[in-house]
């Protein structure tokens, strides 16, 4: 068997990276639950911040990667960029879903309502919907080259839309600007470093999943090529 069709976990680096992520995830949970101080006003509800904010950051980074690889795909028509874009879109949407789940969990006790038309939350929701459309394009299409170009275009258009969506919702519902605007630099040391650590852990998870999905997509296209030959 050629070395090209190795399983993902047979690669020693990805194995080590996976173990490192599991280890740091456990450490992160320990820090969040037992080391960081409990907020006097929000109590335990504040703890979700260590998962909510990094998810939002990673979703943003993932969608930025979709746009960059979309531009690169349209320019070069190199399949690698399509794999990166598609994989990143999938992961970004999962993290978007996490933001949309953890947001209301936090908001229920703190705001007293599960949903508010707050600009950031709404922007994430609209991005989530746009990317659901992105995946239906990928599912509906037959001809692969067309689908790849279309999804690259949608990735670019979606990211260009982010600032416009944010500002329009911000001006639309000025009375619901409830989202906390914490200054991270002014936070106590334990909160600040745990937050930085959670950002790193989430980013590592993103990198791992991205590598994994790209690997799968490569194998899939290889299989499709083999089937076409028969």
């Amino acid at each position: 068997m050629s070395s090209e069709i190795k399983f993902f976990h047979q690669n020693i680096y990805s194995k080590l990276f996976g173990l490192l992520i599991i280890f740091s995830w456990l450490i992160l949970n320990y820090f969040v639950l037992f080391v960081t101080r409990i907020d006097p006003y929000q109590e335990m509800a504040q703890k979700i911040f260590y998962f909510h904010v990094p998810s939002a950051w990673v979703a943003g980074i993932a969608y930025l990667v979709v746009m960059i690889s979309g531009i690169n795909y349209l320019r070069t028509k190199n399949n690698y960029w399509d794999y990166v874009g598609y994989a990143s879109a999938e992961i970004g949407t999962i993290f978007c879903a996490l933001v949309l789940i953890t947001g209301p969990i936090w908001a229920t006790p703190i705001w007293g309502t599960s949903w508010s038309w707050e600009p950031r939350l709404t922007t994430v929701l609209i991005m989530f919907l746009i990317y659901l459309g992105y995946f239906s394009v990928r599912n509906f299409g037959k001809s692969l080259t067309t689908i790849k170009s279309i999804s690259a275009t949608i990735g670019v258009l979606a990211f260009l839309n982010v600032p416009i969506i944010y500002f329009s919702v911000k001006f639309w519902a000025e009375e619901v600007q409830l989202h906390p605007q914490p200054e991270m630099m002014e936070q106590p040391v334990d909160i600040y470093y745990t937050f930085l650590f959670s950002l790193i852990v989430f980013f590592m998870i993103y990198m791992y999943l991205l590598n994994y999905r790209i690997h799968i997509l490569k194998i899939k296209s290889k299989l499709e090529n083999i089937l076409e030959d028969y």
């Binding site: 001809s143 690259a152 258009l157 500002f167 329009s168 001006f171």
Partner: protein, 220 residues
């Protein structure tokens, strides 16, 4: 070149009359549905009027955008169009302009009927109202043309278009409804300036990105 491409679309439409007639028929039926579903006093309807009006415009623009590129699918004429010595960005712009013309034409007919059937008065600042409609239409047609132009070769693209189009235009619709609302209530330009800027930036950004992206999407 753009002129002859737009004239081609207009000529097809003058002969067949299928796009505009279906847009107008659909628009009027939606107005009727609205009129029957809210039996409210004209002052209450006036409160909702901007939102209802823009919902009708979005629904008819979906019909328009579905048809405008599917015209080229008949007899596979897109193959001739794409292999002709025309810049593909020019094709995008021509589709944008012809859909803008169709949309404005059907709005000219639908809007008075809307005000008549829902028994509300025409806004006093008619000029501002028309300016807002023009620039929002430009935004709708630019993003609509690029989405519909790229998905035209996918099967069941009629279903995909609204799925992709509706979330994309949310900021445009928020701005359109807000500014129309302020114009209906005779607010000065300063009050809705920010919405006008948002509409303008949306239209310009997507017109340019469509112009730049479209040749790459259709290039196989």
């Amino acid at each position: 070149m753009i002129r002859s491409l737009v004239l081609k679309d207009l000529l097809i439409e003058i002969k067949s009359k299928e796009i505009i007639s279906s847009m107008i028929a659909f628009g009027i039926s939606v107005i009727l549905l609205f009129a029957f579903s809210f039996r409210a006093s004209p002052s209450q309807v006036y409160f909702f009027a901007p939102g209802l009006l823009w919902m009708i415009f979005i629904f008819i623009s979906i019909i328009l955008l579905n048809r405008i590129f599917n015209l080229e699918m008949e007899n596979k004429s897109y193959e001739i169009l794409f292999s002709s010595p025309v810049d593909k960005s020019t094709i995008f712009l021509s589709k944008c302009i012809s859909s803008l013309i169709f949309l404005i034409f059907s709005q000219i007919i639908i809007t008075p009927i809307f005000f008549l059937f829902l028994q509300i008065n025409f806004p006093e600042n008619l000029l501002f109202f028309l300016i807002i409609i023009f620039f929002v239409d430009l935004g709708i047609c630019s993003i609509g043309s690029i989405i519909s132009g790229s998905i035209m070769k996918i099967r069941s693209n009629e279903i995909l278009l609204p799925i992709l189009f509706f979330p994309m235009i949310t900021p445009l619709i928020i701005s359109a409804v807000k500014s129309t609302d302020l114009i209906f209530n005779n607010h000065p330009f300063v009050d809705w300036k920010i919405w006008f800027q948002l509409i303008l930036s949306f239209s310009v950004i997507f017109l340019f990105s469509g112009y730049l992206l479209y040749p790459h999407v259709t290039n196989e």
